[in-house]
C-alpha cells in the first residue's frame, strides 16, 4: 500500500471551460470571458468578463452564475444585457440555484449555503460537513452533505435550515423529481430515496455494479449511469416512486418493470447521464466521449469533450471545442 505524506510545492493556473443552455441561448465561459450565443449557436450576442477557472454554470430565467470553484469567484451575469458582477464566494462554490433573481450558492469547503440577492445583499447559513449537492423542490432548497450523511431542507424565507435527516453518507449523485430525492451510492450499488414531504427514508434499491450518476425521465423513470457495467440502467416503477418504495414492492429491481427505453450498453464506461425531452445523453469522463441513446442503441456524438464543456437541450447536444474556440451543435 502506498501512503502519501503531504509536501508543499508551488503551481500556476491552466485553463477550463464550461457551457450551459439558457432561455436566451447557450452560455459559454472560457478564457476569462462569458459569452452568450444565440439559440442557433451561430452568433455571439454578448461577451463579458468571466472567471479564471469556470467549473460550472448555473442558469436562471434572467441571470446566470459562472462558478470558479478553484479560485472562489462567481460571475453573475444578466442574460438580457450581458452586464455582470464578480463576487468572492466562500471556499469552493460547487453548485448554485436561482430562485427568481436570488442566487443560492453552495460553498462546499466553507460548509455553507450563501444567499446573494438581486441587490447584492448577502447572507449565509452553516451546513453539515462536505455539502456537495444542492437542489430545489417546492420552493425550498435541499443540500446533501456527503461525508456527514445529512440532507438538509432550507427555507428561502426566512433563510434558515427547516428540517434535517440523517441518510447514508458518500453518495455520488443526488437528483429530485420534485417529490423525492434519489441518492446514488457507488460502493454499495444502491439508490436510496428520501420523501421530501416527510423528510423520511422512502426505501432503497440495488442498482447495477457501480452506479455513479442518475437522471430522471418524467414522470418516474430513473436512468442510472454505471461505468463498471458500461451501461445506463433504466428503472421504471409501475407507480410513483414514493408509493413503490414505501410499499416495498418497487419493480425497479434491474430488469423488471415496464421500460419505454431498455437498458443501454456502451463501448466504454459512462458515468454521467442527462435527459432533456426525448434525448438521453451519456458521457464517459475518462475518455471524454459523448453518446446519444436512441431505442436502446448508443452512438457516439462527440469525442475529447471536457466534463463541463457540453450541454443538452431538447433538440440538440452542444459542445465547446476550446482548441478552436467553437460552439458545436449536434441535432438530436
Amino acid at each position: 500500500m502506498t501512503r502519501f505524506l503531504a509536501l508543499l510545492l508551488v503551481a500556476a493556473p491552466a485553463l477550463a471551460q464550461s457551457i450551459a443552455s439558457t432561455p436566451r441561448g447557450i452560455v459559454v465561459a472560457h478564457h476569462n470571458v462569458v459569452q452568450l450565443f444565440n439559440a442557433h449557436g451561430t452568433e455571439v450576442v454578448w461577451t463579458t468578463d468571466g472567471v479564471a477557472n469556470p467549473t460550472s454554470i448555473e442558469d436562471g430565467d434572467e441571470r446566470v452564475a459562472v462558478l470558479d470553484a478553484l479560485s472562489n469567484d462567481v460571475r453573475i451575469v444578466e442574460l438580457a444585457t450581458g452586464r455582470g458582477t464578480t463576487v468572492r464566494s466562500g471556499q469552493t462554490p460547487v453548485a448554485g440555484i436561482f430562485l427568481g433573481r436570488t442566487l443560492y450558492l453552495l460553498e462546499r469547503d466553507a460548509r455553507a449555503l450563501e444567499r446573494i440577492g438581486a441587490d447584492g445583499a448577502r447572507a449565509s447559513i452553516s451546513l453539515a460537513a462536505d455539502p456537495a449537492f444542492l437542489f430545489a423542490a417546492g420552493g425550498r432548497l435541499y443540500a446533501y452533505s456527503r461525508t456527514a450523511g445529512v440532507l438538509q431542507e432550507i427555507a428561502a424565507s426566512p433563510f434558515a435550515v427547516a428540517r434535517s435527516i440523517n441518510v447514508a453518507p458518500f453518495a455520488s449523485d443526488v437528483e429530485t423529481d420534485g417529490k423525492n430525492a434519489y441518492l446514488v451510492y457507488p460502493r454499495e450499488a444502491k439508490i436510496r430515496v428520501v420523501a421530501l414531504a416527510t423528510m423520511q427514508p422512502a426505501g432503497e434499491v440495488a442498482a447495477g455494479a457501480v452506479p455513479v450518476a442518475l437522471a430522471i425521465e418524467p414522470p418516474h423513470t430513473l436512468a442510472i449511469a454505471d461505468p463498471s457495467a458500461k451501461r445506463v440502467w433504466m428503472i421504471e416503477g409501475a407507480q410513483s416512486f414514493s408509493q413503490a418504495f414505501t410499499r416495498g414492492f418497487l419493480r425497479g429491481l434491474l430488469g423488471i418493470g415496464v421500460r419505454p427505453r431498455g437498458n443501454s450498453d456502451f463501448p466504454t464506461g459512462v458515468d454521467r447521464v442527462l435527459i432533456r425531452g426525448k434525448a438521453l445523453i451519456a458521457y464517459d469522463t475518462s475518455s471524454g466521449t459523448l453518446y446519444r441513446v436512441a431505442k436502446s442503441k448508443s452512438s457516439i456524438v462527440a469525442q475529447n469533450v471536457r466534463p463541463q464543456a457540453f450541454t443538452v437541450t431538447p433538440d440538440a447536444v452542444w459542445t465547446w471545442d476550446d482548441s478552436v474556440r467553437r460552439l458545436q451543435r449536434y441535432a438530436n
Binding site: 500500500m1 501512503r3 503531504a6 508543499l8 491552466a14 455520488s172 464506461g269 458515468d271 475518462s286
Partner: protein, 474 residues
Amino acid sequence: MTVGLLFGLPAAAQQSRISSDFEIQQMERQLATSKSFVAQLSARLNLGDLRLARNENALATAEYAQALDVAAHERAEARRAADMTRYATATSYAALAEAKLSHDARAFELAEEALRYASDSAKTWNLYATTMSLLRQREKAASAARNAVSIATAEAERSPAVSNRLDLAIYQYSLATFTDDEALLRAVVASLKSSAFDALKSAVVRNESFEIYSTARGEEAAYVSLLNRAQLRLAALYERRGDAAAARATYESVLAARSDDPTALAALARLGAADYAAAFDANPFSLALVRDYQRYLDRAHPPAPEESTTGARVRLALQQLHAGESRAARATLDALLAQFPNNDTLKTLRREAEERASGVPAFLTSGKTTAQPAGAELRQLLGLTLTPEQRAALDAMTLAGTATFASASTSEGRTTLDSGTIEGVPFRFAEPTIFNGTFAANTPLRLTYRILGVTGVGGADGLLLEPLRLENIQ
C-alpha cells in the same frame, strides 16, 4: 540509529555524500526492478520530490511528467477493467501529478472526479488535500484533510489495527500541516512514539529503515517518514513562534533518527546551534540554506573551507561571492556545474556572479585620470570583464590608496616589497620592487599605483599593480 550505522561507512566517507543520494538510488532501483503501478508511481513521485529538494527542477518536472503518464495509463486500464476503486485511486494520483506540473485546472478537475467515486475513502481525501495545497488552496486542503481524519478516526475506532492507526496519524499530520495546529502535531508525534507502535518501531530498528519519502510504500517506510516530517513541521512551528529551545530540541530529535537530515541541520545552523558545514554537506543546493548562509556571511567571517565536499565547494563559492571575488566564484561554480549540470541553485549563483562582474566601479567611468577607489570598488573590479574602452580608461588612470604589505625586507635604506592588501583587497606587484626609504610590513602606507590586471594572490583573486610611489602616512 544514525545514518552512519545504516550505511556502515566511516564518517569521513559519508560527508561527501548528499543526504538524498541514497533515496534517489533506491528509487531508481525500484523503477528498474518493480513494474507495478504503485512501485512505478511512488518511485517517480519520490524522485521528483527528491530532485526538487535539490533544486534540480528540470529533472523534477520530468519525473512528475512520468508519474502522470503512469497514472493516466492506470486510469485507462482500470476503466477498461471496470475497476472503479482502482480508477479512483489512479485519478487521485493523476490529479496530484498534474498539480506538481502546475496544471491547476486539470488537477482540480481530476481531484473532483476521484471524489465522485471514492468520497468514502480517507486516502482519497488526503490526496485531494495535498493536491489542493499544491494549488495553493490551503483552506480547501484543510477542509479535505478534516474529512480524511473524520473517516479514518471512525475506521480506527472500528478496527484499531496498527495500519489504521498509522493511516490516521498520516491524515492528522496533513490536517495539522494545513492548519498549523501545533497541538495536533504534538499528538501525532506522541502517538508515533507511543507503545501502540512498538512492533513497528522494532521492525524499523531490525531492518535499519531510515529513508524518508513523500510517497511511502509499506508501514515501516511510512512510519519513519511520518515521524521525520511531523517532527520537522512541529519544530518549524516552534521556531516561528520564537521558542528556539523547543525548536532545537525537536530538530535534534530528528537528527537522532537520521543524522544527516538536511532540514534539521539547516535549521540548527540558522538557530546558531551548529555550523553550516553539515547542513551544506547534507544538501548543498537548498536555495533557502544558501540565502541563509549569505546573511550569515554579512555578520561573520568563517575561514575558507578546507574540505573538498560538494557542500564545502558551494560554501567556498558563496564566500568568494561575498568577498567580491567574482572571478574565483565563477571558477568554483563552473567546476560544480560541470559535475551537476542540471542544478538550478548553481545556475542561479553563477548568474549572480556574472551580474556582479558586469557592474562597473564608479571611478572607472568618472572621466578623471586620478582616483582613490574604495575597497568595494576594487573588489568590483576583480570580477569585471573589461571592455577595450574601460581597459584604456584604466590604463590612463593614476590611483592611490592605503596599502599594507605582508612582508618587507630593508637594506641600506631601501625596502623590497612584493604583496599585501590595498583597501582590504589583495594585490601584488609583477615582481618584488625596491623602494627608497624604510617601510615596515603590516603598517598602513600610502601607495600610488596603476592597475595592470587581475591575478591570483595567495590562492584568492587579487590585483596586479604597477607601483608609482610609496609614502609613510604621517
